[in-house]
């Protein structure tokens, strides 16, 4: 089985996201970076699929040169190959990103054969455009279902599960497929020391992306209105318990 997983490098913010003075980007001067959470699980799923069914996994990202870090992290937990689509900024608009990734997938498949499963995160943690995977799948004429929290492979077919308000929906698909994965599908492993060392040595392939601008263009980022709250202090330590229970009665929670 050949599995491709597409990821995005995103900042790892704490309690507040600050914006650069020009209003065009998140101020990342004091932030670490990570793989967007849904995609972190997609990477783990790619590794597990290959562990269970054999084959090879590849991780791909469109991002700045520094996204090499996220590719090598994926390699450190067991992904076999890595490909960077280098760009000069933190991100491209979603249409342009999808076009570039589609072209890169065609190039990779022409060289090494088709991917049976292509995994995306359901949406990126930062931009949250909810569309790159769908656009890529459509361009490749392959089925895609988003929100996937469980994958079971049986020969050429595959069952994908997702949660809905009513319960669980199961989709029965035939490979090749594209899936948008959600956090919770698995618990990503931590890299071993051996994995970390090995990931430093892998060769990161490059496909230079080319695609025209899409119809959605960012003008600026704006801080959303901070929820201002006058916190009422109910007390310190266990002595505050009666005040808490008074509140539970007042709010009608304790009847």
């Amino acid at each position: 089985m050949r599995v491709l997983v597409c990821v995005k490098r995103v900042p790892a913010p704490g309690a507040r996201i600050n914006i650069t003075p020009d209003g065009l980007a998140v101020d990342t001067a004091y932030l670490a970076f990570t793989t967007s959470p849904h995609e972190e699980c997609a990477v783990e799923e790619a590794v597990q699929l290959v562990e269970r069914h054999g084959g090879e996994s590849t991780v791909l990202t469109l991002g700045p040169a520094e996204a090499d870090e996220q590719l090598r992290y994926a390699a450190s937990i067991g992904v076999n190959k890595a490909v960077l689509l280098p760009i000069d900024s933190a991100e491209w608009d979603p249409q342009r990103t999808a076009t570039a990734i589609t072209t890169a997938i065609r190039t990779l498949e022409a060289a090494d054969g088709p991917f049976d499963v292509i995994l995306f995160g359901n949406e990126s943690a930062d931009a949250g455009n909810f569309q790159v995977g769908v656009r890529v799948a459509h361009a490749l004429a392959r089925p895609i279902v988003n929100g996937i929290k469980g994958i079971e492979v049986d020969g050429d077919s595959l069952k994908a599960r997702r949660e809905s308000d009513a319960g669980v929906e199961v989709y029965a698909l035939t490979m090749p497929v594209v899936l948008g994965v959600k956090e919770g599908i698995n618990l990503p492993r931590y890299p071993t020391l051996k994995g970390r060392l090995g990931s430093k040595k892998i060769e990161v392939g490059q496909v230079v992306p080319e695609a025209v601008l899409g119809g959605q263009q960012m003008v600026s980022l704006v801080q959303s209105a901070e929820q201002v709250s006058q916190t009422i202090m109910l007390g310190n330590g266990p002595e505050a318990a009666p005040a808490v229970v008074d509140l539970l009665e007042e709010l009608g929670i304790l009847k």
């Binding site: 913010p13 704490g14 309690a15 507040r16 996201i17 998140v26 979603p94 999808a98 359901n122 943690a125 930062d126 931009a127 949250g128 455009n129 909810f130 569309q131 769908v134 656009r135 799948a137 459509h138 361009a139 089925p143 895609i144 988003n146 929100g147 809905s164 319960g167 929906e169 199961v170 029965a172 948008g180 919770g184 618990l187 119809g215 959605q216 263009q217 003008v219 600026s220 980022l221 704006v222 959303s224 709250s229 009422i232 202090m233 109910l234 007390g235 310190n236 330590g237 266990p238 505050a240 318990a241 009666p242 808490v244 229970v245 509140l247 539970l248 709010l251 009608g252 929670i253 304790l254």
Partner: protein, 317 residues
């Protein structure tokens, strides 16, 4: 026709977010058209009319008897070609975003997800949410037909009676699209879920272990609530991801959220911010969760939570 709203429903059960999308559409044009997919949705015409739909366009096709992202997206794309709206609005939900992304790919048009405001001009200026709502993005949208989803809770649903005349739209769907129609369903067991619970007792990294959640379970149980947790807790393997409150977990909206030993990072806050009231229990008075909460107790959750449980039992006799 200027604005068309894609109605979200599950086998004829209306998603409440649709009514918000209708309210948003009325800010773009007072004459709103709605699009329902599948004959199960025909019964919704009256409710849609009450919320401002002047015309309800109905699509009937065997492939629309249950949800399928490709069949729905292709139907929206064909309806857009037939009806030529200036803009199409759908719900900023999992399904809404998925369907509009499908339609956008098929129409080769841009699609802006999770919008909170629209400034209609020669070039549309749209504000949308990033980071699950903790940051806003102003962007331009240039397209012959503008495709948008409306961020959940950004607009308030309200009644605004309109004619609700029904019309039929014919679609021609490739049978291959059956490949992504729901094949099987497992209904959720009845009971309180994290998303609907009136009380959530949340635990963070400071809880310390899977076993140490027992006092939180006990308190939640006494009050008819459920236990939630932060991403740090699931990453440590202490609780299942289904209990995770946050941007990549469940978004909760209880009457009261008791956040115990949770610092309140963006990831968690985004999932908790729709709570009506928040009580933070934390040793750090400067913690983000404490400063944003309505009420706080400064102290060790391991001592405070059992004391609250004991006090409830004492009062109940």
């Amino acid at each position: 026709m200027t604005v068309l709203v894609v109605v979200e429903h599950d086998r004829g059960t209306l998603s409440p977010a649709t009514l918000e999308a209708l309210a948003a559409a009325r800010t773009i044009d007072p004459v709103v058209h709605a699009l329902t997919l599948g004959s199960a949705a025909d019964i919704l015409a009256g409710e849609l009319a009450a919320h401002g739909a002047a015309v309800v366009h109905q699509v009937h096709h065997d492939l629309l008897s249950d949800f399928g992202p490709e069949a729905w997206g292709e139907s929206v794309a064909q309806a857009v070609r037939a009806l030529q709206p200036d803009s199409v609005l759908a719900c900023g939900t999992d399904r809404g975003n998925e369907v509009l992304a499908q339609a956008a790919a098929r129409l080769d048009l841009p699609f802006v997800a999770n919008v909170i405001s629209v400034d209609v001009a020669d070039v549309w200026r749209v504000t949308r949410v990033r980071w699950g709502g903790s940051l806003l993005e102003a962007c331009t949208l240039t397209a012959p037909t503008k495709l948008l989803t409306v961020s959940h809770h950004a607009f308030e649903a309200s009644e605004s009676p309109a004619a609700g005349t029904t019309a039929s739209v014919t679609v021609d769907l490739d049978p291959v699209l059956a490949r992504t129609v729901v094949a099987e369903r497992v209904e959720r067991e009845a009971g309180v879920t994290l998303a609907t619970a009136p009380l959530v007792v949340g635990g963070g990294r400071a809880v310390g272990s899977a076993e140490a959640f027992a006092p939180l379970e006990e308190l939640a149980g006494l009050l008819g609530g459920v236990v939630g947790c932060s991403r740090a807790v699931t990453n440590n393997g202490w609780r299942n991801h289904t209990d995770q409150v946050g941007q990549t977990g469940t978004r909760i909206a209880p009457d009261l959220y008791m956040a115990c030993g949770i610092s309140g990072a963006i990831q968690h806050w985004v999932g908790a911010m729709a709570s009506k009231k928040i009580l933070a229990i934390n040793t750090d008075p400067e913690a983000n969760m404490v400063t944003k909460a309505d009420y706080a107790v400064i102290g060790d959750l391991h001592k405070v939570v059992p004391a609250i449980t004991a006090e409830i039992r004492r009062r109940r006799g």
